[in-house]
Symmetry: C2
Subunit: 213 residues, 2 copies
């Protein structure tokens, strides 16, 4: 059965899920690279960016799991790009070049409609203006028996959590404090939403936490 | 030189520093014991409650450090007891019996004045109605060359952090999610306040984090 999962989602110790001040030169926000340090050296990530070698071990296991088994992805608009408001033209096609790492239908939540974009490697971006439930219905239909990944950012994950629509949540808590950014947990009652802690694996670069229901 | 320290302060993964619904039967709030699991089995804690044996190791090292070297303590009123508003009488003398674990002058922040209470073992409770700066001045004067501990709870620690008055912060992040409670980090920009991560030690029961400036 299709599960709705969050995977490989990096947080700081103080619970911020992205660095502040996202921009073209800082797609992950300031200090975003530190936040994602656990994944940057892994074999899985190296393969995605076409780099040889890379480390195996728990960080890599979680990296692989966070990118495999998915038949569709859902992204908040800010994860798709830095443009806010109306789309000025059709030039922006995501942060990832011609061949994005999704290789599956990818649904972008936005208030501004836009035609789908067929990319290389199996990724097609669909722009959904009817809300998170509609995006999830379409993603589930597209995923078949595979899982649906809620890719982020923080606001998107929080909306799906609050709506009770997420089955599993893998967080990688990096040993840094960010101080500002989008707070992940404020107002999110995970036990009341039915989540239990099912895994906790600690590496040099992260505390991997899996919550499931 | 006297440092102002927070030590042995337990948080859940989702950043809550006490269980909800504190009461006479739940002084740490609901699920408070799970939150403090890392300390309950230590030699240091066993000594405090007069129990033999107890585990040594990193949890115990942090437990010992969180109770030693202090010449004065500051507590928020809710840490002192469950009574809110005016003191009805002089009966309540804290959660800890006749011989509290402080063994030093202990300043309780409150809006309602009350005479000092001399306890056994060196603890005297002073009730401070003039605010956190006044409490800290008096605590520093009482501590001499020793450190001052901000004992909690969350709201008290947050107020001293925001005022820039804390030098070192030891947090024990327990592998549980609480969902509700007092959020530690919301609106607290630790890097801007000058804090750096100086220690990270992981045990079965907690991720020990020290932030200093």
């Amino acid at each position: 059965m299709t599960k709705v999962r969050v995977g490989g989602f990096s947080l700081s110790i103080d619970g911020f899920g992205a660095g502040p001040e996202q921009s073209l030169t800082d797609p992950l926000g300031k200090r975003g690279e530190e936040l994602h340090q656990w994944i940057l050296g892994t074999k899985t990530f190296h393969e995605i960016i076409g780099k040889p070698d890379g480390a195996t071990g728990p960080d890599d296991d979680y990296a692989a799991r966070s990118m495999s088994g998915f038949g569709a992805f859902i992204l908040g608009r800010n994860m798709f790009g830095p443009i806010r408001g109306e789309w000025p033209d059709d030039v922006w096609k995501g942060w990832w070049g011609n061949n994005p790492p999704y290789h599956a239908p990818t649904f972008v939540l936005t208030h501004h409609s836009r035609d789908p974009i067929v990319m290389e490697g199996g990724t097609t971006f669909f722009f959904i203006t009817e809300g998170i439930e509609t995006a999830l219905e379409q993603a589930k239909a597209a995923a078949g028996n595979d899982d649906v990944k809620i890719g982020g950012g923080v606001s998107t994950v929080r909306q799906y959590l609050q709506a009770g629509l997420i089955d599993e949540l893998h967080l990688a808590i990096s040993p840094i404090v960010l101080g500002i950014g989008e707070a992940m947990f404020t107002g999110i009652d995970l036990p009341r939403l039915g989540f239990n802690l099912t895994e906790r694996i600690v590496t040099e670069h992260a505390t991997h936490i899996v919550l499931a229901r």
